[in-house]
Amino acid sequence: MIQLTGAFLTMFCLLSTILLSRPFLTFLIKWSSKKKLVKLNKQVKDIYYSYEELTYFVSLPNRNPDIFQAPLSRFKADPVFRSFIFPEIEGLRIYLKTAEGETHIAYMSSDKLRVPALDRLKHENLINEKEYHNMKLYILIHPVTKKAFIDEVYRQIRRDDRILIIDEPV
């Protein structure tokens, strides 16, 4: 009995290193970043980030009816992980859920995400490199950010390029 329990727990622990590392990483990022933000007296909604580095997999604007006419509710954003045992959050993937499957629309790399407020905090030595990294990831995977990225992608798909007239009419 005891041997069986030992074997079962060992197997569970081994599998946990593969299957639970990603949730553990996410949990820890959320927990530590929330704690730090409280300490710094800041909230996620007060921290501005840039959409500049979004990479699109579709041309913009896009008049493909499957994409152009898709309702906002069908656009989803999920974090992209790399590796299982030593996972990293690589970015945020924005995709369109269709009856046939998923269409990749855009990707925001975590390395490229620009959060000037965090840059400033780091510059002022209020957070260290690891905290800076974790907080950036926390912002990236936060539901508010996900929604904001979806809104931005949706807006870009439907933008009107004809308005880009620089010269005033003569």
Partner: protein
């Protein structure tokens, strides 16, 4: 029961450490992972008995294989096999099986994990490359669209610099342009720049930009704001006008070899332009990029990262060159357009503005005067007996007189006043914000200046000097529209001529009846 509880506690400790390791940097994370694996394995061996160390060893092997790949797994396999042998726990047959199992498991687990790691790294590299290329294409597309939408030089330069500096663009912190002078191909003058003067200023601007969620096209449209924000930077840039020759080896290299360079550390003292720029703009590392179009360099672009201090890589230069070439082409086109525009609105002989310019400008002048409740006074000038002068001295000297007359007019009026050649020997001057009386005074000054000017051939004129008749009218006092203003000033000239020439006549309704 206690043993089961202890086994569960040992597992929970492992799970906790397996989670808590993510709080630390990568290498510490790996160390904690190994420590957790060792603690767990040793704990289980102690709780379950040494006879279970054989299979528990596989767990440790897995941990080392995950951290160090197959090399780590093979080493640990050898160590564990040695320990089993040393402590003589198993019979030789069992030991051989266990040792073989360790080596096989270690190598295969390590190999598989190594393969995945390598595959992931490669995938990441491809991904990054693809994202970068995709972004560059996106920037090129956006900028091409924007560059095609204008032919105004300052706007073209603004779009180009925005594409280089905005995060949506190539994301350099600061950039400025020096253009070749038309009069001297070796002379380069600072024209426009975008970016902060210090790191602190950069942080503030950057936060504002992100807060307002500005896109590349928003930046392009915000030319006026950029001019205000970067006023100090542009004042400094526009003060640069340098002759570039062999004495400035770095810039000269860029111009002759037509290739960009990255300048790191100390700049050669002889390259005074770059040395001065480096000091003025507190640049640590910067790149000098030639603006190439149709095989020649029309200018230079300087870029640096003053805020984030990101090093400039050769790969960045490769990415910037297509954009720089496109920008250079647009700049050259805009310059040519500006030149042809100027030619179209300038009088070829005197260099004054011509009637085409007048027709274009007059509505704006009137609109501005009406909006600000100001006056707009017009002086129409006609050189007296000019036909007779031409008949006597020929058109060559006649033209010379017109050139000198134009110069005299320009010197006689204020900077904001507009002098045009209306045609032949007739000129028109617009005096914005000046009343009829002020206009009359200016006209009188001009008349006196003309009659005393030592024009060649003046002695053959009827009054032994070149003189001018001037008609004055003003909006809204005397005229209701642009054409009305010109017409009334013209009628006043006619009256001045009738009254004996070399006179200033202000338009008046009563006298109009007498003379017309």
């Amino acid at each position: 029961m206690l043993l089961v509880l202890l086994l569960i506690i040992n597992s929970l400790i492992f799970l906790f450490l397996n989670m808590y390791r993510f709080q630390f940097a990568s290498h510490i994370n790996r160390m904690i992972f190994i420590a957790a694996g060792v603690i767990f394995t040793v704990g289980n061996i102690l709780l379950l008995g040494f006879e279970h160390s054989g299979w528990l060893g596989f767990f440790l092997l897995y941990i080392f294989a995950a951290v160090y790949g197959w090399m780590g797994a093979a080493t640990i396999a050898a160590v564990m096999a040695g320990l089993l042998l040393l402590f003589n726990i198993y019979t030789l047959e069992v030991w051989v099986m266990a040792a073989g199992g360790y080596v096989f498991f270690g190598l295969s687990t390590g190999g598989i994990l190594y393969y995945f790691r390598r595959h992931n790294t490669q995938l990441k590299q491809w991904q990054e490359f693809f994202y970068k290329q995709s972004k560059n294409l996106h920037v090129l597309r956006e900028v091409s669209l924007a560059l095609q939408s204008t032919l105004k030089l300052d706007k073209v330069m603004h779009i180009f610099l925005t594409a280089v500096t905005a995060g949506y663009g190539l994301g350099f912190n600061r950039a400025f342009i020096l253009l070749q002078e038309e009069s001297n191909p070796n002379q380069y003058s600072g024209r426009l720049g975008i970016g902060p003067l210090s790191m602190e200023e950069g942080h503030v601007i950057w936060e504002n930009v992100v807060m307002q969620k500005l896109t590349l096209r928003d930046f392009i449209k915000l030319q006026r704001e950029a001019e205000v924000n970067d006023q100090e930077l542009n004042r400094k840039i526009r003060s640069y006008s340098f002759t570039i020759n062999e004495k400035q080896p770095l810039c000269h290299h860029v111009l002759t070899e037509m290739e960009p360079i990255i300048v790191k550390g100390e700049v050669d003292k002889e390259d005074s332009l770059l040395k001065h720029m480096k000091e003025t703009f507190s640049m640590k590392e910067f790149a000098v990029i030639p603006l190439l179009t149709r095989g020649k360099v029309i200018g230079l672009m300087i870029i640096d990262n003053i805020v984030d201090n990101e090093p400039i890589k050769h790969e960045d230069l490769d990415n910037i060159m297509p954009l720089a070439t496109q920008g250079a082409m647009a700049i050259e086109n805009a310059m040519l357009y500006e030149k042809s525009e100027n030619t179209a609105i300038e009088d070829a002989l005197t260099g004054l503005k011509n009637k085409r310019f007048l027709d274009r400008m007059l509505p704006h002048l009137l609109e501005s005067a009406a909006a600000k409740n100001n006056c707009l006074t017009a002086l129409v000038l006609d050189i007296d007996h000019f036909k007779s002068f031409n008949d006597t001295h020929g058109h060559l000297l006649g033209n010379e007189i017109l050139i000198q007359f134009a110069k005299l007019l320009e010197e006689a009026v204020a900077k904001e006043d507009i002098v045009c050649r209306f045609g032949g020997e007739e000129f028109i001057i617009f005096l914005p914000k000046k009343s009829l009386r002020q206009g009359e005074k200016t006209a009188e000054l001009i008349r006196k200046a003309v009659r005393t000017y030592p024009f060649d051939g003046r002695e053959t004129q009827p009054l032994q000097r070149i003189t001018v008749s001037i008609g004055v009218a003003s909006y809204p006092e005397l005229a209701e529209s642009g054409s009305d203003l010109i017409q009334k000033a013209d009628e006043a000239v006619y009256r001045a001529k009738k009254k004996g020439r070399d006179q200033v006549a202000v338009y008046s309704e009563q006298e109009r009846e007498v003379y017309l």
